[in-house]
Structure formats: C-alpha cells, structure tokens
C-alpha cells in the first residue's frame, strides 16, 4: 500500500477508501415530503430574459409600427425623450454663443492686449485677438539673442 504523500491529482487509494463509505438511501417519506413541498412552492421564478417589456417600449425587431421602428429604441420612452430634448437645447445655446463670439472677433471689436516693452526689442506691440501666432510677433535677428543675454547679465 503506497502512502498518499504526493497530492498531484486524484489519489486512487483515497478514492477506494471513500467508496467504502456506505451512502444511505432516503427514507420512504423523503419523496412524499419533497413532492408536497414542491407543490407548495408558489411557482418557478420567472426567467428574467422572458420578462414582458415595459408598455410603450418596443422590443428589437418589433415591426408593428414602421414609423416607430425608425425611432431609436432609447428615444421611445418619455423619460429619455426629455433628456434628449434638454441635451439638444444645450447644444443650440452653446453653438449660438460660439457663433456670436466669432462674429465679434471678425469685426475687430474685441479687447486688445498690450505686451510690455521689456518683452520685445522693438517696443510695445498690439496684438489683435485672432491674429496672435507663435513666431510672428517676434523674429530674432542674428546677434540679438546674445546681446539681450549680456544686457540681462550686466543688469
């Protein structure tokens, strides 16, 4: 008899030992009691996948109303319709505001920004909103960077 020391998988000796355990049969009344209990169960719980859809919500593939079939499923409930209307309204407001701002800028009525003289070697510059581009306001000439650095060091 081998010692069951290495638990690599089912152990044949232990399987044999467990089979020696006598499994008792049910008492006669077990099945009668069970059938009475089953009869008193209110009924199998319904399968959730077979629940009826909410009123007013069409299930996919519902072709009873062709016009309704064109409306996305998420929009066929009143609650969803209100949310969609609010989102559309918010988008309209944002678009109107953006368009108004753009019109003001193209008319040149916006506030100008004055850059202090110390930041540019050629004096104060006016940058009109909408025209500012990196590298356009200041193009250093050869020698300017070095001289600016020396001036900063001496100061």
């Amino acid at each position: 008899m081998s010692a069951p020391a290495s638990p690599g998988g089912p152990d044949p000796f232990t399987q044999h030992v467990l089979r020696r355990l006598t499994i008792p049969a049910h008492e006669k009344r077990f099945w009668d009691d069970l059938q009475r209990a089953l009869a008193s169960v209110p009924g199998p719980r319904p399968d959730r996948t077979q629940e009826r859809p909410l009123p007013g919500v069409a299930v996919p593939g519902d072709a009873r109303d062709d016009a309704r079939a064109l409306v996305p499923l998420a929009m066929r409930q009143r609650g969803n319709l209100v949310i969609v209307a609010l989102v559309v309204l918010a988008l309209v407001v944002v678009l109107a505001a953006v368009r108004l701002l753009g019109a003001e800028r193209s008319a040149g009525a916006g506030p100008s920004v004055t850059i202090p003289a110390a930041t540019t070697p050629v004096g104060p510059a006016r940058i009109v909103p909408g025209e500012a581009r990196l590298g356009v306001a200041f193009t250093p000439q050869p020698g300017e960077i070095r001289s600016a650095g020396v001036a900063a060091f001496l100061a």
């Binding site: 008899m1 010692a3 069951p4 020391a5 638990p7 998988g9 089912p10 152990d11 000796f13 232990t14 399987q15 044999h16 030992v17 467990l18 020696r20 355990l21 006598t22 499994i23 008792p24 049969a25 049910h26 008492e27 077990f30 099945w31 009691d33 069970l34 059938q35 209990a37 089953l38 009869a39 169960v41 009924g43 199998p44 719980r45 319904p46 399968d47 959730r48 077979q50």
Partner: protein, 178 residues
C-alpha cells in the same frame, strides 16, 4: 436519456421534463430529481457524514432548485446545475449544528460495514476544509484547479489539506480492515 415519470408511462426526454417543470409541474421535476439523486446523495453524505442532515440539505436544495428552474437554460447540463445548488446548500448546512450525531444515525441505516464506519468516523474527524477538499478531488474527481477555485484555496493550501486528509483516511481504513 429518456426518463419514465411513472412505472406505466412512456419515457420522456429529460429536456421535456425540465420544460414541464419550468411550466410549474412539480411531479415532472421530482422525476428528474430521482434520476440525479444518487450522485447528489453521494456528495452530500460525504461532505455532511450524517444521513438526517443529508436528507434535510437535499430537501432544501431540491426545493430551491425548483424555485430557480426558470433560470436553467435549455440545452444546459442539468446535472451540473443541480450539483452546484446541492454543493452550496451542503456548505451552508455545515455551518449549522448537526441534528443528530453520527453514531445515532447509523442505527437506522441497516447493516453498515466496519470499514464504512471507520471511513465515516475519519471524515467526521477531519477539519471541514480538509474534508471538503478530499471529497471534491478524490471523491468527486474534480480537477485540482477547479477545486482550488471552488474552495478559494491556494495550490499549497489544497496540497496540505489533501495530504493530511488522505493520511487520516488511509489510517482509518487500515484500522477498519484489521
């Protein structure tokens, strides 16, 4: 495999009986249960080692299964589905005190071999996690990885439980045979 609902009736496929059970037919469900009961009794008794507790647990598990039969998918393995319910109910049953001690249950089981008494005594003496581990791997033939998942044990812990349970059962059989 076709199952006969009554001795004189024509056998019906299990899927058809399950369909009847899903429509609320308790007799059809009991017929299917009778077919699977031997395997369920085996695992329940090996885990619980008490015939009254086994009967109580199986009764509760079968009623629970009937209440949940609507969630069973057609074409699935009903035996495995039922097994999971029975196993879980057994584990819950282990948390409650035994209605009767082992030595009192054996008087009504008919003739019990000395070896069976010895194995039953050894199973009862095991720690619960050792007992369930050895029943699942050696008794039910589950793959080790599956048993680790069911028991929530690391491979090393499962090894340790199996080693001590196997040693105790081997010793029990040797003393029962002698």
């Amino acid at each position: 495999m076709p199952i006969r609902m009554n001795p004189g009736s024509a056998p019906l496929p299990e899927s058809e009986l399950i369909g009847l059970a899903q429509a609320g037919d308790g007799d059809a469900f009991a017929t299917v249960l009778r077919h699977h009961d031997p395997r369920m009794r085996t695992v329940a008794y090996r885990i619980l080692v008490d015939r009254y507790r086994m009967a109580a647990v199986l009764h509760a598990a079968y009623v629970e299964a009937f209440a949940r039969i609507g969630s069973f998918r057609a074409g699935g393995d009903f035996g495995s589905w039922l097994y999971r319910i029975v196993y879980n109910t057994c584990i819950e049953g282990l948390a409650t005190p035994a209605p009767t001690p082992l030595h009192r249950t054996q008087g009504s089981m008919g003739k019990i071999s000395t070896a069976s008494e010895a194995v039953g005594g050894a199973l009862v003496a095991l720690r619960l996690d050792e007992r369930v581990a050895v029943v699942l791997v050696d008794g039910e033939g589950f793959e080790r990885e599956v048993a680790e998942q069911i028991l929530g044990m690391s491979p090393a812990t499962l090894d340790e439980h199996l080693r001590s349970a196997r040693a105790a059962l081997g010793q029990a059989l040797r003393s029962g045979d002698s």
